[in-house]
Symmetry: C2
């Protein structure tokens, strides 16, 4: 896979083989009926508020579910990084609240603190975490995954949960449409994964020396832009990165555009596309180096599943940037090595 | 004021003289009774949702009001950049919603679009904008300011509005406490402004060549970190800048810390302080160049008014960075000069 370093020194890449498809299939098959029952129980007890809680990648993956809930449902939904939730201790957090908490390790200090706060208010809790983690064990209801594709797995669980809210609470036709589409999403992702590798590999070679990226998305792709900046570029590549919402780009950030600036734009196929296109075309006119990852180039993915489809070329880019730079992307300078 | 350029070539600085105090005093005196009546009217018509809408600096200043509403009130409140609001077209946006929209020019395309969407759903609208702008003229109810300190003015109107919600809707004692404190805030800001100039001026000299800042805050100071990054460093200084939430710092971003990295930490005096201190002390141990702007160093400002107090040393830093760099901070490469 690399000419710079023997592949045996590299960690397993969840982009290889059938890992993504199999992990998603497992989640869809096991958790669909359980989520139906969970949401029915919530509605029976008079649910009037949903909180979506996580940190880092887990936090990022909860943005699209919030977007879908806002657009199609009258249920109030808030999304917070876990300390933001704990310190706010929202007044609306009551016995009529449900709190969904995501953590791959299941040991994140502030996510467990958020769980305790939720329980102390009599709210019902649901976890997005692998089997047998402390979070899984402590939540009232555990949704689990068995896949190294942690953020994709949590994204899928968030989508499945909100989709069921749209079906049962909002009774919006898009709920049924998405619920049906989720059944075929694992296979569609497998196809799209294979279709997106070559271009990202070439881009990694082209951008191997870039040291300061701007990553821009909005709407369903705003969380993914943030995730790529903080979990991939900052955390794994040790490369400066700023994520911006395309809806905000015109209101200040555009003044940083200059010839040669590396910029990554994430384009969806819904009504938010226009804002990202405007920001991208502006930046192109003024000389920036543009990478566009566009759902329209990724066949077979429903427009409302944009953060699944666009995840794929980004992860290939992350992987091959590591290969090009001879940098093992699972290496950390600080996390798990020094006190925080 | 500068040895590099004659002061006559520079734009007026709203940090000079009594501009801040007088502008805030005017807002408090004129708008307090009008906001009392506005919120009473909202409650009489069965308000069940508040939306806070703006772009760039206007968007940033609406984060603390959202934080206060979440913590102390059961009224659902959402905050969006204007296109995010327009494209979501939230299902909860109804005749029982109020929509507050901020814009200094009052001509921002998507803010006016958001106003139209709100009206089309029968929601009631309120503007934060100077007198006589198109937004002021089009909103159902206009809250106005007459000050060049645009973001501080919109921040103040947002605080006054939410404070009145806490008084009348939540009937929480912190509402009355804040409402009383707002009466003396203009004078407190004037004192704090004078007390914060010298240190920021020295810091500007020390950091004049820094080209890539990380700006970190959380809670009531999360919006201000974002505002300083996009409205001051990117827009005015043309300097790379990333804002991060201190609650997220540990979950990826910390891996970018390295000796000499310029980092600005915004510290409040409430329960969120711990997260920012942890991120700051971690970064210091690993060699970053640290600027701390700490509300505890700014006397006379209530802890819940942190984004007012900490605004002051940041704006002095912005001003004196321009002086040190012989860069007129009102200069734009693109905004208002080329098509977007």
């Amino acid at each position: 896979m690399s000419t710079q370093a023997p592949v045996t020194t590299r960690p397993a890449n969840y982009m290889d083989g059938t890992t993504i498809r199999d992990g998603m299939r497992d989640i869809v098959d096991r958790e669909t009926p359980r989520i139906e029952k969970l949401v029915a129980d919530w509605l029976a007890r008079g649910l009037d508020q949903l909180y979506l809680i996580g940190c880092g990648g887990s936090f990022a993956t909860l943005e699209p579910p919030k977007w879908l809930a806002d657009k199609y449902s009258t249920l109030p939904v808030d999304r917070y990084s876990a300390w933001e939730f704990v310190h706010r201790a929202p007044a609306r957090l009551t016995t009529r609240s449900a709190v969904a908490l995501g953590s791959h390790s299941g040991t994140t200090e502030e996510v467990l603190e958020a769980l305790r706060l939720a329980k102390s208010r009599g709210a019902t809790t649901v976890s997005f975490s692998p089997s047998s983690t402390p979070l899984t064990q402590a939540a009232d209801f555990a949704l689990t995954y068995n896949s190294p594709a942690a953020n994709l797995s949590k994204l899928l669980l968030g989508y499945m949960l909100i989709t069921e809210v749209l079906v049962q609470h909002a009774q919006h036709p898009v709920g049924t449409e998405l619920k049906n589409a989720i059944q075929t999403l694992p296979e569609a992702m497998h196809e799209a994964k294979q279709a997106t590798e070559a271009r990202s590999r070439a881009l990694a070679a082209e951008y191997r020396d870039a040291q300061n990226f701007y990553v821009i998305g909005t709407g369903l792709l705003g969380g993914l832009a943030y995730q790529f900046a903080i979990c991939n570029l900052l955390e794994m590549q040790w490369t400066h990165a700023t994520s911006l919402n395309a809806a905000e780009f015109r209101h200040g950030p555009l003044e940083i555009v200059q010839p040669g600036l590396p910029m990554i734009f994430l384009l969806g196929a819904d009504e938010t596309r226009t804002e990202t296109e405007r920001a991208m075309e502006f930046s192109r006119r003024h000389g920036a180096r543009i990478i566009a990852f566009d759902l329209k180039d990724i066949p077979g993915i429903h427009p409302l599943f944009a953060p699944f489809g666009v995840h794929l070329p980004l992860q290939w880019l992350n992987w091959y940037l590591g290969v090009e730079r001879n940098h093992v992307i699972s290496t950390r300078r600080y996390m798990g090595r020094v006190p925080y």
